[in-house]
């Protein structure tokens, strides 16, 4: 897919890439997130939406201390890996009952008023989460967004975070379909997580397949950004960068566990 054609081609509606690639390794999945972001910033290309899943793992926010945010002993016992992401926010538990969505956008590629709104952090969260909310509404679920979270009947079904690199934004979030609440509770040391978290499968009138949920969400993103999503794959550059990032960062204890050295609120 040639990005220049996508940007300036005859089609009025712009094309973004839809990636549905997941690695079986959670650290590699996060390396891929950063690789797509970096390659978009370095080499340009189409904006992308990635839908992906992780095996059982805990993903901590960039600023978090895993020793206080995560029950490390429980994770070790359950063989759950703890990986740090580049975006802020709190720790999340992933497994195959969770669908992750990631949006990679170059600010300048958007048209006003979207371009102007997305510059503002708060508005951008509302826009990106709004895409998921509309997708859920299309499935008959009364969801709403609230400060980067998506809620159903007062319970959280999705959380999200952002990282910005120059003019490129990565917004990524979770969508809990049928996550193992017991393991989540143990890994994140939360008693009765069902009290404030909800799986989509609990509120859907009928059980819906993962594919149908993906379709609803992608359709909604197409509407939100006035784009056409075309299925694509990782480029060779993205794969190369992801491997490098995996090797030097996401597979390293120094990044995942030790990089947080508190000093007056700094982590760097």
């Amino acid at each position: 897919m040639d990005s220049s054609q996508l940007r300036t081609g005859k089609m009025k509606m712009r094309c973004w890439r839809l990636l549905e690639y997941s690695s079986k390794n959670p650290a590699m999945n996060l390396a891929i997130e950063e690789a797509i972001l970096r390659c978009l910033m370095e080499y340009g290309g189409p904006n992308s939406i990635r839908l992906w899943q992780n095996p059982s793992s805990v993903i901590i926010g960039y600023f978090q201390n895993p020793k206080s945010a995560v029950n490390m002993a429980a994770c070790k016992k359950m063989k759950i890996r703890v990986i740090r992401r580049i975006s802020g926010g709190g720790a999340v538990y992933h497994d195959h009952g969770n669908l992750n969505y990631s949006i990679f956008v170059e600010r300048e590629s958007l048209e006003n008023p979207l371009k102007a709104s997305i510059k503002d952090l708060e508005k951008s969260y509302a826009i990106f989460c709004g895409g998921v909310v509309e997708g859920l509404k299309a499935l008959g679920i009364e969801a709403y967004s609230q400060n980067g979270d998506i809620m159903i009947r007062g319970k959280k079904v999705s959380g999200s975070a952002q990282h910005r690199l120059y003019n490129v934004i990565l917004h990524h979030g979770t969508l809990m379909l049928n996550i193992n609440m017991e393991m989540l509770g143990q890994a994140l040391e939360i008693s009765n997580p069902e009290k404030f978290l909800v799986n989509l499968h609990e509120v859907l009138p009928n059980k819906i397949s993962l594919d149908k949920i993906k379709k609803a969400v992608t359709k909604s993103f197409e509407k939100t950004f006035n784009i056409k999503l075309e299925k694509g794959t990782l480029t060779s550059k993205e794969r190369r960068v992801a491997k490098k990032l995996y090797k030097m960062k996401y597979s390293q204890e120094n990044w995942n566990i030790k990089s947080y050295l508190y000093h007056g609120g700094f982590s760097l």
């Binding site: 580049i86 690199l165 490098k244 960062k249 990089s259 000093h263 700094f266 760097l268």
Partner: protein, 335 residues
């Protein structure tokens, strides 16, 4: 200027250029605010003008406010506290160090003037009234402990110019006679020597400290921005202009371009400019175990402002690469 001297000595100590130091000095009538104190709420400005009292601000962690005049003796300890722990029983972080230094003063006063002063972490007291008070600031294990012994301080003016209500006394009031400043200096020196088992060696301010004093006075202690508003310029070590470059880890091509640009622009200013490249995700100790980091870097990191150039603690360029000329101009403006 006197408070610039204290800070220069402290910087000299923490960079390893000076030994543990006790400075004793006197200054004209002034109100001194701690770094977090409020000029508006804590100082009676009208009465300061009426009594020709200067307003200065000192580095400190606490929001204290003092008054001193030529009837006071001021002191500043610039020390490595890791050496103090051997003299402390039932160690309580921070408070024990303060108490120990106050005890040095109390021991000196008690011996010299046959008074019964008592020390705790908050000051030195005679008959439950404060005769010595202090402000403290830390840099890792290094402590700058700055304070006042009220020999014959004008307490009536003290109460007019500050809004703090304190139970204060002076040595003159307690002893009932005039006390020469020299006697109090000797008392303090003896108290410290006895309590900390040290011997003082009288020294002068070094040339390097002198240079720093001038710079600190120019960029900080002579300015309302600091004295009134409490906004502090960020200076590293012995006061070199600091250019902090905040980039991604590993650096992107634009990050590398930016780092090269900063190095290029400052290549002829190596004696005046210190460059610190901070890579997001490399950890706090990427430049050694005791880093000096400007507070604005915390903001920049929190907001993922990549890349960013911070000069002497002020965010000058963000999310873009400045021109060579603009960058050079921004650096020279504060050098």
């Amino acid at each position: 200027m006197e408070w610039a001297v204290n800070e220069a000595i402290f910087r000299s100590r923490r960079t390893g250029l000076a030994p543990d130091t006790l400075r004793l000095w006197q200054g004209s009538a002034s109100v001194v605010l701690g770094a977090p104190s409020s000029f508006k709420d804590d100082v009676n400005h009208e009465n300061c003008i009426k009594n020709s009292v200067e307003i200065v601000r000192a580095n400190s962690v606490s929001p204290e406010v003092f008054y001193y005049d030529m009837g006071s003796l001021n002191f500043a300890f610039a020390i490595d506290t890791s050496e103090l722990k051997q003299f402390i029983k039932n160690y309580q972080p921070v408070l024990s160090e303060y108490q120990l230094l106050n005890e040095c003063i109390a021991v000196g006063l008690n011996k010299k003037f046959r008074v019964t002063s008592k020390a705790d972490a908050t000051g030195v007291y005679i008959n439950n009234k404060k005769v010595s008070e202090s402000l403290q600031v830390w840099f890792y294990d290094y402590l700058l402990f700055q304070g006042i012994v009220h020999i014959n301080t004008n307490l009536s003016i003290y109460n007019q110019v500050t809004r703090f209500k304190k139970q204060l006394t002076t040595l003159k009031l307690e002893i009932g006679e005039e006390i020469p400043v020299g006697d109090v200096i000797n008392a303090l020196v003896q108290g410290v020597e006895e309590k900390l088992d040290v011997k003082f060696n009288e020294q002068r301010i070094t040339e390097e400290e002198q240079k720093l004093i001038q710079k600190l006075y120019r960029v900080k202690y002579s300015l309302d921005k600091w004295n009134i508003s409490g906004r502090e310029p960020f200076l590293i070590g012995m006061g070199k202009t600091t250019v902090e470059v905040f980039v991604a880890y590993p650096p992107t091509s634009k990050c590398r371009e930016l780092i090269d640009l900063v190095k290029n622009v400052t290549s002829d200013l190596q004696n005046e400019v210190e460059i610190r490249v901070w890579m997001r995700g490399r950890g706090i100790n990427q430049h050694g175990p005791c880093p000096e980091i400007s507070p604005v870097l915390k903001y920049v990191e929190k907001h993922s402002t990549l890349p960013a150039i911070i000069i002497n603690g002020e965010l000058k360029f963000s999310e873009s690469i400045p021109s060579k000329e603009d960058l050079r101009k921004a650096i020279l403006e504060v050098s």
